[in-house]
Symmetry: C2
DNA sequence: CTGAAAGCGCTAACAC
DNA sequence: GTGTTAGCGCTTTCAG
């Protein structure tokens, strides 16, 4: 009883079976007026009987509107991008759009070009550029933006006049983290940075550095190290930092995964957190509440970020032509500091 | 200098500009023979100059082949589904296919129907059903399978004759975990199960139960509790279990997130892991190596799972019609036990 | 080697 | 109310 692959039922067959014109079937499908109730019922009956499903493809071709949004992403194995995608997918669904997903194999420019054009060839109505800004991988997209005939929304980058951007304020988030440590009375605050080719890592690093200097604490090179976001890299970065800055009493780590490693390394070296070393992370992943000890962190709701991006894009799609250009709205979200045990100054 | 939305360049315009027929342009595009080199060059030049990009949509319509695979997933905020999707996206890319992504808002059946039909309406060439098997949410898809005129590949379910399935052997993985604990000399082994409406949770639970009984250890209800995969739920489950089974000396936890909570709760109750309580997780997420202590876990490479699913599906798509039905290949992957500090029996 | 005609499945504009 | 005629952008015959 193997299921032989059946041919798709077309509107033409429905029309013939119901003994009406193709047009009338179309009218029924689209709930248009001017169809006699009896005719409509007959058509509907045939549609049901033949299990007819209209082809969105053919529709898209003629309407010049695919109701698909192209999403270009990278690094889905990371928690951040996948949560963002979750938000995008959910919101798109809700608003009646499909997601055409493309993941870049690397963060480099080269791959991106072909992949983006592949997406555009499929006639997506708009594009959400959810690739982290690494090196200058965004340059050429921005350069060519005028040549693409669909709207774009960019995620996670500095506000820039004339560009629709949806992003968390990483600088503000990092500032909160460091200021919190200062308030707790810590002064010798180190930093484990993310890879500084990433915009987000640079923002967090810059905020650490600036807040420190504002507090009258000179920043030296031995006070920070760089990881690549992963727990593995965080382990090495943590060891180096503890080594080169032994009097450090607190550390701001650029993401929760690396902060986890910091906790682990500290423990292995006999340091008590937060008594000997306070630790603050970034991202606010769900697990951070169950680290040992629970991790103070800066939370950004990336699901929400994805939702907002879709709303923004669809607003642009459905707005009248002229208004689009006037003021590409920037959505600038504020992260939130979650204080837990890992950063509380204990009576020494 | 606002970028006014341009109209798309069509093959017709290229033809006119190059003073050839639409046909010839098409031949050039598709690298077909029988085009004079001079003509070809002229056409290519015009294509370049006009920045012409053929419409994949129009192509799909006539070729009855979209080169898109529909992916139905759910719970992208979880690590597992998103890693799987990462594998799917990467592999599809490599093989020249695009991914049309659909995420179910819940695991229930109702939403699924409309969403699946939406995907099919866009003429995907095949579907990867990556929704975890929860309750009987898979029943109706399987029932209606014969009515869909494209091939399906199912992820993460029991092998079943006549169905193309790509899955890890959860039962085998859980067996490894429990046998490892027995080998270490632990006998009073508890279990924190995932939500038992999930197939994967049931498999892991069943393996625990069976291995215990084979070892002559009767299983009682107080020896296990149930969580919902999240660290939060794992915390409650861990507390309950420690409470109702105080003499427990080891525990097999159904995923790493909940295992993390088990470590955290044990620590807060003054229990030393693994001295007082050995812990084994499941999944092998990257962070598990940095838990305190590093977690023994059963690793499954979900990226690989996604890759295999795509390979399987595309093999079906590109195979001659008859051979498809004969023997839908099942890919049955073996997870791997990673032994770390959390489960090592220490000289007491 | 090249072009003209037909048509993929559907909707838009107009007739009747 | 309903049918007819076009045509979305492209490929596929089949003539020349």
């Amino acid at each position: 009883m193997a299921a032989t692959r059946k041919k798709r039922v077309t509107i033409k067959q429905v029309a013939e079976e119901a003994e009406v014109s193709i047009q009338t079937v179309s009218r029924v499908l689209n709930d248009m007026p001017h169809v006699a109730p009896a005719t409509r019922d007959r058509v509907l009956e045939v549609i049901e009987r033949l299990q007819y499903r209209p082809s969105a493809l053919a529709r898209s071709l003629i309407q010049q509107r695919s109701h698909m949004v192209g999403v270009i992403t990278a690094g889905l194995t990371y928690i951040g991008p996948s949560r963002t995608l979750d938000g995008i997918a959910t919101q798109a669904e809700t608003m009646g759009y499909s997601v055409l997903l493309n993941e870049l194999p690397t963060f480099a420019t080269n791959d991106a070009k072909a992949i983006l054009h592949g997406s555009l060839a499929r006639q997506v109505d708009g594009v959400i550029w959810a690739v982290p800004e690494v090196d200058n991988n965004r340059e050429w997209v921005l350069d060519q933006l005028a040549d693409f005939h669909v709207p774009f929304v960019f995620l996670t980058m500095n506000p820039q006049p004339g560009l629709p951007i949806v992003s968390y304020d990483n600088h503000a988030g990092a500032r909160m983290a460091v200021e919190h440590l200062l308030q707790q009375g810590f002064r010798r605050i180190g930093h484990v940075a993310g890879p500084l080719v990433w915009w987000e890592a640079r923002e967090r690093f810059a905020a650490w550095s600036e807040v420190m200097q504002s507090a009258g604490i000179p920043v030296e090179d031995r006070m920070w190290t760089e990881g690549n976001w992963s727990s593995r890299s965080g382990e090495a970065a943590a060891r180096r930092l503890l080594d080169q800055y032994p009097e450090m009493d607190a550390v701001f780590v650029a993401n929760d995964q690396m902060a986890l490693s910091m906790l682990s390394v500290a423990r292995s070296q006999g340091l008590h957190v937060p008594l000997d070393l306070a630790v603050v992370g970034f991202d606010g992943i769900a697990e951070s509440d169950y680290f040992s000890p629970p991790l103070t962190t800066v939370h950004q709701d990336l699901h929400q970020l994805g939702c907002r991006a879709v709303q923004q894009l669809i607003a642009m799609l459905e707005a009248p032509q002229e208004s689009i250009e006037l003021e590409p709205a920037t959505v600038w979200l504020e992260p939130e500091l979650i204080v837990r045990e890992s950063s509380i100054r204990l009576a020494g």
